[in-house]
Subunit: 226 residues, 2 copies
């Protein structure tokens, strides 16, 4: 199977792919000033996390709308982050997710080896950082440092939470049987974190070649659907 | 495996789930007036389809943002439609999609038996029809008739296109090996149709319990990503 051509977000490290940066949102400034990031370690700025524990039963509502995600891994003393948007819910609770990841991504081997990750959900405010993470390889640079993404320790896995994302889901790989054929890791969310202050997150939705749709209006319809 | 509790959109046929209707958009009026829908047959209003052939290589850009979909099937002389939003791209080209469908859905057996379907992408204009399709069962009613959805013949599969959707993807099931464990059908898009007049479709993105996000602002970022 042509896994080399499957999955999302091929790596590019050419000068033409250099990411531009947004200025960090004001509430992140303290975190960034305090940042003492050392390559190969999980950094923690020491400030209180704004995210609170979130019920596992509600996790599907975060992922089902199809946001671009930042997937963090940690292996052999080094943390990494990749941009991902080929994923689907598989089960409500415990939440199971199918993630399709190309073996050309540095995170592919890190996830396969560590069997743990964190799925972080970014919003429009850090869209260029997200694209930057998709255009570069963790095999060559420390993306957290490069793009100003703050690591926070997770509670149950070694991969870090990303503080600039409004939601972070600690996950364990539960099935690698589909990796060889489809590049699909089945992962289980074991702990979820959400910033309750973010009411209508402008999640980012990839449409190909740098085109993104941002989450817009919210509507409520009479529905018996879960 | 608890497949009975996996997948999306449990069926509800109680009175409380009755769908309200939007008035059809004006460009659809002719279609609806001409509609001669007979249960068990694919109906064609006879008017020209507004959708044009669309390159298979661009299909991922339609599905990756995570829209709610209307999946049509045709088996034993009867067409059906279900609402679905647990799917992911698996391969760019030929486009492979992993669709997680609960075996409680009438479409589950129809898809398993016919090995063909059409994925139709609806927009906010028909959001209540979409929810209506999710709240009812094709085992009991003809949803096309109930919700005023117009069938058009597909070119390569027996399942119908839905005329009110701006995009329709004719698909064949290529792998049922993941159905028993995860309710996941791997399907291949063999023909794609898109209405070129719809520039920024307000796709619908499910967040649980009748809450939906509508596609908002589009942005373009400098990216090397496909």
């Amino acid at each position: 199977m042509p896994i080399a051509s499957s999955g999302r977000l091929p790596v590019c490290t050419s000068a033409g792919c250099a990411a531009k940066f947004f200025a960090p949102a004001s509430h992140l400034s303290v975190e960034l000033i305090n940042l003492k990031l050392v390559r190969g370690q999980v950094a923690d700025s020491g400030t209180t996390m704004t995210k609170k524990s979130y019920p596992l039963s509600k996790v599907y509502g975060l992922l089902e709308p199809g946001p671009v995600l930042l997937l963090t891994t940690f292996h052999d003393g080094v943390a990494n982050v990749m941009t991902m948007s080929w994923q689907t819910m598989i089960e409500f609770e415990p939440p199971l997710i199918g993630c399709v990841i190309s073996n050309r991504n540095h995170s592919f081997e890190m996830l396969k080896a560590s069997k743990q990750c964190v799925i972080n959900i970014p919003t429009a405010e850090i869209a260029e950082k997200v694209v930057g993470c998709g255009n570069t390889s963790g095999a060559k640079i420390n993306k957290f440092e490069q793009f100003g993404l703050t690591q926070k320790p997770a509670s149950l896995v070694t991969a870090p939470l990303i503080d600039e994302c409004f939601a972070s889901l600690e996950c364990r790989v539960v099935d690698t049987g589909l990796v060889a054929k489809y590049g699909m890791f089945v992962i289980e969310v074991v702990k979820a974190w959400l910033d309750p202050a973010v009411k209508n997150p402008r999640t980012i939705h990839h449409q190909g070649h740098g085109n993104f749709m941002l989450a817009g209006e919210r509507i409520k319809l009479k529905s018996a659907m879960k």
